[in-house]
């Protein structure tokens, strides 16, 4: 405990000294730092902040020190996060390398690969995107067709990926490719790291119902990939993929939060529901109650579920703290409930806001209102991306409940 107090003290001091004032201001939508070879910093301080945090490994606080990570314990990291929160520090770096690829590399990659790629991720030098889905393979990921052919010291890759987020701004892509067409479908898949800075790789943005999106189609036309870029063994890529998908599910599950339960309590003990407060401004109130009784009932149900869900996320984290088991099949439950809940949140906002939530662009609507319309449409993908709700329910039924095939 004493060590932790000491750690908190040092952390506080270091942050005070090293986190530039500009990086303590609230973020706008363009202020995310994604890193990469052509990284665009919103402000010179953002560059400084990334360099300093990257140097300490605190962009990836719990990763091993030997690969550039912060090497912090669970408790130390908690303190770091609390202190970052306390000064409202912006994240120094956001990246799919941190959220997805890194943990997989730490588990599956060779020593050489870890030495090469992990520090780049920690420092934000390379920006990664994910290449899993293909036009023909949605939920049935393993039916993918992009193929990598052995050509001596390198593979030649041909095929197409979809839903590659930010592919048009990324440096490298981690992909699943078919290397063994003869094998049963799960066994012929390999995990390849592909440099996108070559003529054989091109990208094209996808327009969504919500408008522009970070998603792209990514085309491989005789792309060249050195053999040392194969992670894990040949035809054993599916194991890496499964683990990565669990990480992705956990990421998306978190979006379901934000009802009354997770609302911060103020000092005077008033508890408020963000949804209800917002609804009151659009439908009015009578004697402190939301004027529309039907809507009030629906929001109460939503808040109760949200509250229960956030308690469950916390419970899962408390339970796993000791056992340290990492993502489990129960993460499917979080993915399922979280994404369905987030969709419902926006449907309720639409219901509360009425015609005010139905603008597309131009006059007559506030920017926040227009953003809600778009975000409502965007949430429809929550229960599809990272494994559909149906796939999550299948996983729960089979792996958690052990129901027969």
């Amino acid at each position: 405990m004493e060590n932790l107090d000491q750690f908190r003290k040092e952390t506080k001091e270091w942050l005070e000294e090293n986190c530039p004032p500009e990086m303590r201001k609230p973020m706008g939508p363009g202020d995310v730092v994604w890193g990469g070879r052509n990284c665009k910093f919103p402000h010179p301080d953002a560059k400084l902040w990334l360099e300093r945090m990257g140097e300490k490994g605190w962009t990836c606080p719990t990763w091993p020190k030997e690969y550039g990570g912060g090497g912090l314990s669970f408790d130390e990291n908690k303190i770091l996060q609390e202190e970052l929160m306390a000064i409202r520090a912006r994240p120094a770096l956001s990246s799919f390398g941190i959220w997805m690829l890194g943990p997989a590399l730490l588990e599956f990659a060779s020593e050489e690969q870890k030495k090469k790629y992990i520090p780049e991720i920690v420092k934000g030098e390379i920006r990664w995107c994910q290449g899993y889905s293909e036009p023909g393979s949605g939920s049935d990921l393993a039916s993918l067709k992009t193929k990598a052919e052995d050509n001596g010291d390198h593979f030649i890759v041909n095929g197409q990926k979809v839903w590659t987020s930010y592919a048009d701004d990324c440096d490298m892509i981690f992909t699943l490719v078919r290397t063994g067409p003869q094998e049963p479908k799960h066994d012929g898949i390999s995990f390849l790291l592909i440099d996108m800075d070559q003529p054989g790789v091109t990208t094209k943005p996808i327009k969504l119902i919500s408008g522009k999106s970070p998603f792209c189609e990514t085309f491989f036309d005789n792309a060249i990939v050195p053999k040392e870029n194969l992670v894990s063994e040949l035809n054993k890529g599916w194991d890496v993929a499964k683990r990565l998908l669990q990480h992705e599910r956990n990421m998306i599950a978190g979006m379901g939060l934000g009802g009354a339960g997770s609302a911060k309590k103020k000092k005077d003990q008033t508890i408020s529901s963000g949804m209800a407060t917002m609804a009151k401004t659009y439908v009015g109130e009578e004697e402190g109650k939301l004027a529309n009784a039907g809507l009030r009932q629906k929001i109460a149900s939503f808040d109760i579920n949200s509250h229960a869900f956030s308690l469950t996320m916390r419970r899962a984290s408390e339970e796993s703290k000791s056992s340290n088991s990492g993502p489990s099949p129960a993460s499917s439950m979080f993915k399922y409930y979280g994404s369905e809940s987030n969709k419902l949140r926006y449907e309720l906002m639409l219901e509360a806001m009425g015609t005010k939530a139905l603008g597309w662009e131009g006059e007559g609507f506030g920017p926040a209102e227009l953003a809600i319309t778009r975000e409502w449409l965007r949430t429809k993908a929550n229960s599809i991306e990272g494994g559909t709700s149906e796939v999550q329910l299948n996983i729960i039924a089979k792996r958690v409940l052990d129901l027969p095939q």
């Binding site: 969504l208 449907e347 015609t355 131009g362 449409l377």
Partner: protein, 378 residues
Amino acid sequence: MSLVLNEEQVFLKDSAKKFASEKTPTTHFREVRDSEIDNCYDDKIWQEMVSLGWTGILVPEEFGGSNFGVAGISSILEELGRTLTPSPLFSTAVVGVSLIKHASDDVKKDILTKVVQDGLRLCFAIEESNHHDPVKISCEAKKDGSNFIISGEKSFVIDGGFSDKVIVACRTSGEEGSKDGLSLFVLDSDSKGLTITATKMVDSRNAANMKFENVKIPSEKLIGKENDAYEIIESVLDISRAAISAEMLGSALQAYQITLDYLKEREQFGSKIGSFQALQHRAAIMFSELELCKSCVIESITSFDEGGNDSERLASLSKAKVGEVFHLISNESVQMHGGIGVTDEYDIGLYLKRARVAEQIFGDSNFHKNRYAELTGY
């Protein structure tokens, strides 16, 4: 009431079906949407509708109409709803015409003839807040000699952005929220003092915000009696609610059909996804719900023509039920399409966007559930 269409209505429905599939498939909607036209409808198509007599279906024969009734025009709207055909048909031939029928003979003759012959476009400015409420009216019309002076604001005026005439619901007496003291006026959309802002909605159609600043209008443009418009408003709203339900039903049926086709065609894990029982059950439940919607719509749209005495409640039944089911189907359809369902390239997302806007027109399901309960006595 009959729960089966008569021959005339079936004929109208069939010709609308043909029209929609030949002239206004969803590609037509996309063209209009992506073009630089602000109106979000194609005037050529509109004139074809006019020449088919569709704008005159609710117009009495003496003014050149066919008087084919609410069931007739609603059947057409149902078919046009299938392909999301954009046009001022609903706002003009249903809402506008039904209102104008209560005007003076001179006004009727003038406007209805032009609607039938030239496709004069009408719109109804009633809403003043973000939720439908036909008595929450504070836009004021003050008597000034033989004129009225209108001041106030209106919002969510369907097709208000490009109308020729505006019918506006004003308060001539009483408090906001009262049924008494409402009056209706018809005026030109380029009247002095009237500012119209077309808003672009998520379904790419237009609704308008209107600002009335001392707009002067002669007494002859009053529709019905001064202070006494509430009953007219409710009766026209009910016709309109039934008709828009029919359009929504058409859209819901089509969204469902598209999804069903996709379930039969898309393969995953070596099987058609339509063979997965969980999806089958959800599809079967949606089928059942749609069957119920069909019954509500046909009972409701025929009740006006057949002089039924339960039209009010049936309009709420229809709008509440179809609203809920279209909501469900629009969500399920996107989900069942998976990734491509959320891309702009596929049609299914267009139905989702349309669903939410149509739900709000003249009362959402919440509003109509509540109204149904009130009309049923609880």
